[in-house]
Symmetry: C2
Subunit: 340 residues, 2 copies
């Protein structure tokens, strides 16, 4: 019975740790860099500037329709590196495991991570495992750090939006947030929703190499589309105006949000990006996005403009379906803990 | 009252998250790379091969004589990068915070991290914060990932020990492990012990540039000196023989271990390194180590040899004070959880 769970000595650095590393991590993640098993990974030189990003994943539940904490930990960090106009190449992963975690569950999560890394074409090159006593953590937390070569010049930045730019989104919003919430709370109303968790690095590479001149790239994760656009508006000192009827939301996600009193514009996404670039490149960018399975529903949803009239720098304005205007603030207060 | 603690919405990605980032993290870690606050850090190109390492820190208690979880998270990862013969340059940090964590405690930990990063001469370039509900984590976990340029050629490796090599240790062993354990359990017997947590990268740089031809560099953290030497012996397929009386152990650490039935050779160290190199370079290496405050008590403690007679590849043999021989195995079973 005990052999089927994580025990405290799996994190001791001794023989049990070695077995866990060999039997689970190396078996699934195997590659020549990782397999050296030194304290640090030895990586070939990278030619250009580097992008580095880290994220801790604490999602509850650890398995949900469309993914697990393992694939989420790969996609989320790969996407953050890509958003700097970079080609993600290497990932590290640090596991914090609760004593008693079923080994079978750990192995499912690790296998899902390995599959996600393969799909994103990144190598997991180094890692760490700590085990904490029962009750000191909830099942499993994973922190991944990604490294890649910046291929866009200049690199996109939240502060680089320009007045006149188009605002594009690569697909529907709110899917991940509603899925995790409804699964956690056992809500049947949203039984047909699914996380959008996916790697976006291949799409980003094509956008950079084919379309070029991308001012901002961001993945609207925690805080959702509205919060991410607020950050960009603030960093750029401009105004972002969105057309409500252009923002893609799946009907079942809209319905689930209506029942629960949630706004899909503030829900986390894990496989979507916001791309801000000159209007005359918008159609080319949409065509590139739609050529990828994750971007089939890409849409132009708004524009960037200089402050003026009643609008102030850093504001996000929603043109509603009924013709009115609504200010979309940054997320205030707790909406959903442990969503990623 | 509530304003003095971490609340769930500090991890929401919204306004409260922004305040936490600005008021605590950016204030203490401030540097031009971090201050851009994009999803990933944009780093200048690095000329040589890269070293990348990650570790999760879950130490209990989070403050102890000689450091905090914050300085430990910097030193541990800086040292792991350095052990590849590299110059650590950049760190990422991901925080997992428990709802209710006092802000004052978080700020002490963050300030201690900032001071450690300054001393080690590395920049904290990107980070992440998640907040989990009360009871889903114990106070604070920190995962750091380090990146640096490899300056040794070839890079030292656990598999590169050679028969005839000398085994050096940069100072006393067991200090960190005994300190954390005694502080956690409130044991007065070890009131005068202190963690050895320290950055070793400056010492490593001098060893590489001044002495050269270093075959193995390892920091004996979890599992201690004995377990780390076992890993090296196994990876190199050789035998390591240690002189018990040459191994530096502080009298108060030896006494504390005797009372508690612990072996200092298996206790974690956080500011010590093992250096394996040709005998004729050993004195030069010891002189370099002793020139750094962390290496004043550096000692030659053993030799590497080919298997033969009764010794088999991968074994670590201790020549005891009484003239006998004892096989030092790898750590078996749980000795101390949450030691780092």
């Amino acid at each position: 019975m005990n052999n089927d769970c994580i025990l405290l000595d799996y994190g001791s650095g001794g023989k049990a740790s070695q077995r866990l590393i060999t039997d689970i991590f190396v078996r699934h993640f195997s590659n020549p860099v990782l397999n050296r098993l030194d304290d640090a990974a030895l990586l070939n030189p990278v030619a250009g500037p580097l992008a580095m990003s880290t994220d801790g994943y604490t999602v509850d539940p650890v398995e949900f329709p469309g993914g697990t904490i393992g694939s989420l930990a790969v996609h989320g960090t790969v996407n953050d590196v890509a958003m700097l106009g970079a080609r993600p190449q290497y990932l590290s992963c640090a596991f914090i495991l609760e004593e008693g975690l079923p080994l079978e569950l750990l192995e499912r999560i690790v296998a899902d991570m390995a599959a996600a890394a393969k799909k994103a074409d990144v190598l997991i090159v180094t890692g760490d495992t700590k085990v904490v006593p029962r009750g000191a953590a909830d099942k499993i937390f994973i922190t991944t750090t990604g490294l890649g070569e910046v291929i866009a010049s200049p690199a996109p930045s939240g502060s680089s939006a320009k007045a006149g730019d188009a605002v594009l989104v690569s697909g529907t919003v709110g899917d991940h947030g509603l899925t995790v919430l409804s699964r956690r709370e056992g809500l049947s109303l949203a039984s047909d929703v699914k996380s959008d968790s996916a790697p976006l690095n291949h799409m980003v590479k094509d956008l950079i190499l084919t379309v070029g001149e991308i001012h901002c790239l961001r993945d609207p994760t925690r805080g959702g589309l509205a919060t991410t656009l607020n950050e960009i508006a603030v960093q750029s000192g401009l105004v972002c105006t969105l057309e409500e009827e252009a923002i893609p939301v799946r009907p079942n996600v809209a319905a689930g949000c209506a029942v629960l009193g949630l706004d899909p514009l503030y829900l986390a996404n894990e496989g979507k990006l916001i791309c801000i670039l000159p209007q005359d490149r918008a159609e080319a960018a949409l065509a590139v996005m739609r050529g990828h399975p994750e971007g089939k529903e890409a849409k132009r949803i708004g524009t960037i403009s200089s402050p003026g009239g009643i609008s102030r720098p850093g504001q996000v304005v929603l043109q509603t379906r009924l013709g009115g205007k609504r200010l979309l603030g940054m997320l205030e207060g707790e909406q959903l803990p442990r969503i990623c």
